[in-house]
């Protein structure tokens, strides 16, 4: 009961008991999709592209961009991004004067850390969350001007890399799909019921006020 109460208060778990992975062996997941998701879930939790201090900065940054609830295993955002950068980055093009993705990330994480040290005398990852947030707000608003950012700007890095790549890592993970009630992989079965307020039996049920238990029960049968 305490658990349910806390959930109501925080609006956590909008799709109680829904686990997209339960569809793994159904007609919604084909072999190539299973392989791709398996590889993602098995991402090594250690830096291969970034240096250890950059990794620590990135890890702290990810915790502020997408803070995660304590009652489930976190999506390993830093690990997913490091693996992506290791493979060459996410998008190929660069917006001048940003360097290409991998270099932009190394450079940006170093600059963020330099900014933290100059303003607060400590590494970014050692700062209190509120302090980290205030630095990020400054970056977003174009208020950070440490020379360590040159030739790019903190604002451009924040807008084109931080707010693009970290959320892309988060919402590439089945845990995030559970959180938002996304159907996830859907081949070859696809969907049948296209109308408003209709769901196929292999889609998530949203919790309605006073009907949490029902949703949880129905979500157990999603598959």
């Amino acid at each position: 009961m305490v658990r349910e109460g806390r959930h109501s208060a925080t609006d956590e778990d909008r799709f109680p008991g829904y686990d997209v992975a339960n569809k793994r062996d159904t007609l919604s997941w084909d072999a190539v999709t299973r392989t791709a998701i398996n590889r993602r879930l098995a991402v090594p939790h250690e830096p291969r592209f970034l240096a250890p201090p950059q990794w620590r900065t990135l890890d702290a940054l990810c915790r502020r961009i997408l803070p995660q609830p304590a009652d489930r295993p976190p999506i390993p955002l830093a690990a997913l991004l490091d693996a992506t950068l290791c493979a060459g980055g996410t998008q190929g093009f660069r917006v001048h004067p940003l360097p290409h993705d991998p270099d932009a990330w190394k450079h940006g994480l170093d600059a963020l850390d330099a900014e933290a040290r100059e303003q607060f005398g400590a590494a970014f990852c050692e700062l209190a969350e509120d302090t980290q947030d205030s630095l990020l707000v400054q970056a977003q608003n174009g208020k950070l001007h440490n020379p360590a950012w040159d030739p790019m700007t903190a604002q451009l890095f924040f807008e084109k890399r931080i707010l693009v790549d970290i959320p892309a890592m988060y919402y590439s993970h089945p845990t995030a799909w559970n959180e938002i009630g996304f159907g996830g992989p859907a081949s070859p079965r696809g969907y049948v019921r296209m109308e408003l307020n209709r769901r196929d039996p292999w889609e998530a049920v949203e919790r309605k006020p006073g009907h949490e238990a029902e949703a949880r029960l129905q979500n157990r049968h999603v598959g």
Binding site: D11, R14, S28, W29, D30, A31, V32, T33, T35, A36, I37, R64, I65, L66, P67, G88, G89, T90, Q91, G92, F93, R94, V95, H96, H100, D133, L136, Q140, E159, L163, V164, P167, A168, Y170, Y171, S172, A176, W177, E179, I180, G181, F182, G183, G184, P185, A186, S187, P188, R189, G190, Y191, R193, M194, E195, L196, N197, R198, R199, A204, E206
Partner: protein
């Protein structure tokens, strides 16, 4: 995939789920083939099929891999990044264009492998927008000529669409019935009706009933990340199999880096990189079909002593007049569960402001369509348009199944200052990469503001709450090797033949003098079908 699959007299069978092949004719590099085509998308793929069917020998090159959709395409946004052109490019200017999935593919079949299948005709007046509407430039092709070829293209790719299309002159009924509308499409219709605008089911190149080896669409919703069932009628599964059957050779993972010319100033073939080495294919004609960034890049990278400014560039227009399309959106929240991830993303459309000119303070037109972004695209809207992050972002994303939105495809006007040039950095092949410079003009900005107001009104009319606009997005490319009436003001003529080098052709979206307010894929395929017929006619007259 780093090894070519189209080798040893066979090519991948795109309908086989387990590594199957189909026979493929092969040509020695020493043989002067009739046509070497660079690119196998909407332009090159279509042309390869039609030219080989008309009896010409064809070798078509693509820098990307040759996929078998049934075994290679995952239902996953991230994994399917493999469909995009992710080689280095530099974007700058006042409004840098976002590349990648928005506008470029790197695979046999080009960007038709991941396009949203929207298959629309231009408004007839757009082919003479200067003389009929007072802006842009006229096309050297008559709209009635295009109208005939549009009908052919729609049959060739089995477009599913409404029985009666609400705008423009009569067109034949679409070959396949329209798809069932999902809830996002029905909400678009409700919004249009509230404003007094017509709407219709969007003509889409994904079949609503079986067609050959294609099953009907199952509404899985990953259309923009590659169709894993082959319902989508991409160049990969329509034109490329036709080309192979008619005797064309496809060379996958083959990056063309330079077109060779001889002392007489004619093209003699292409230098291409495949399996770790540079090779050369002789050809009587070369067609560049790499789309509006790679096409000018190749022409510029092919500069030599005789053509120091690049090939086909005596006008100085290669790379200039780059156009993208405004792709802004309005978004909101419904109390109902919409679940917009089901079905093709754009099942309904209004072209009202493409055909209505009264009340505009700008030139050009736009349409808007229903939307169904998958989670990663949706979060990029939340961060890009609203700057959200932190706990607030995670909370907003939980409303995913309640979101609704409409997105425009709007006409941007040609401007010589918007252009593709060569940057100083080089790519993995040692070729200078494209630098893409873009700035929205005043007219573009007025059109966008008009569209945003209209789209917001349509959301308000259906009771959507938490509405917001996405002001910065573009899609599609055009214009960097425009066709025209004379050699001073264009790169190619109406037949897509370059003015400077008679056996060098360009056949893709680059030839568009104006871009219109609809998705360009159908028009590119239509032009390619027309070009093939024109080439046949020229050959018969001895004018090739």
């Amino acid at each position: 995939m780093d090894r070519p699959r189209a080798v040893d007299g066979r090519a991948p069978d795109v309908f086989d789920p387990a590594g199957g092949h189909v026979p493929m004719r092969m040509y020695p590099e020493t043989e002067e083939v009739d046509f070497a085509i660079v690119g196998t998308g909407a332009g090159g793929g279509t042309l390869a099929a039609r030219l080989s069917e008309l009896g010409f020998s064809v070798v078509a090159f693509d820098a990307g891999p040759y996929f078998r959709p049934l075994e290679d395409f995952a239902s996953d946004e991230t994994e399917q990044n493999k469909l995009y052109w992710l080689d280095h490019r530099v974007c700058d200017g006042e409004n840098p264009i976002k590349m990648g999935g928005n506008n470029s593919g790197k695979a046999v079949g080009g960007s038709t492998v991941h396009f949203a299948m929207v298959s629309l005709r231009f408004r007839p007046e757009w082919f003479r927008s200067r003389s009929a509407l007072g802006y842009g430039v006229d096309w050297p092709i008559d709209w009635r000529d295009m109208w005939r070829y549009y009908a052919q293209a729609e049959r060739a790719i089995g477009v599913s669409g409404p029985v009666t299309y609400p705008w423009g002159p009569h067109r034949p009924r679409y070959p396949y019935r329209a798809h069932e509308m999902n809830s996002a499409a029905k909400l678009l219709a409700r919004g249009c009706e509230a404003l007094g605008y017509r709407w219709t089911e969007t003509p889409l190149a994904t079949v609503s009933a079986p067609r050959g080896k294609s099953p009907p669409c199952v509404y899985r919703g990953f259309c923009r990340f590659g169709c894993s069932t082959n319902a989508k009628q991409s160049a990969l599964i329509v034109w490329i199999p036709r080309a192979l059957k008619a005797g064309a050779e496809i060379r996958d993972l083959a990056m063309v880096g330079r077109i060779e010319t001889d002392a007489a100033g004619r093209a003699t073939g292409v230098h291409y990189h495949r399996s770790g080495t540079w090779r050369f294919q002789r050809a009587r004609n070369v067609v560049v079909a790499g789309y509006a960034v790679e096409t000018p890049r190749l022409l510029l990278n092919s500069a030599n002593a005789r053509f120091p400014d690049g090939l086909a560039n005596s006008s100085g227009l290669v790379g200039r007049n780059l156009m993208t399309q405004s792709n802004q959106a309005a978004w909101g929240r419904m109390d109902d569960e919409v679940r917009w991830y089901k079905g093709p993303p754009s099942l309904a459309i209004t072209e009202h402001w493409n055909y209505e000119d009264r009340g505009k303070d700008f030139h050009g037109g736009y349409c808007w369509m229903a939307q169904g972004p998958l989670p990663i695209e949706w979060v990029s809207v939340q961060t890009g348009a609203r700057g959200l992050w932190g706990e607030r972002l995670r909370r907003e994303m939980m409303d995913y199944n309640h979101q609704i939105g409409v997105k425009m495809v709007g006409e941007m006007l040609p401007d010589e200052a918007n252009r593709v040039t060569l940057a100083d950095e080089v790519d993995q092949y040692g070729l200078r990469v494209a630098r893409i410079t873009y700035r929205w003009g005043d007219n573009d900005k007025r059109l966008i503001q008009h569209a945003l107001r209209q789209m917001m009104m349509s959301l308000e009319a259906i009771g959507a709450t938490n509405r917001f606009v996405q002001e910065d997005d573009t899609n599609h490319l055009a214009g960097t090797a425009r066709m025209g009436f004379d050699r001073d003001s264009s790169v190619v003529n109406a037949d897509c033949r370059s003015w400077d080098i008679p056996n060098l052709w360009v056949c893709d979206g680059s030839v568009f003098p104006t871009v219109g307010g609809v998705n360009p894929a159908l028009t590119i395929q239509t032009i390619a079908m027309r070009t093939a017929d024109r080439i046949k006619t020229l050959a018969q007259r001895g004018e090739l």
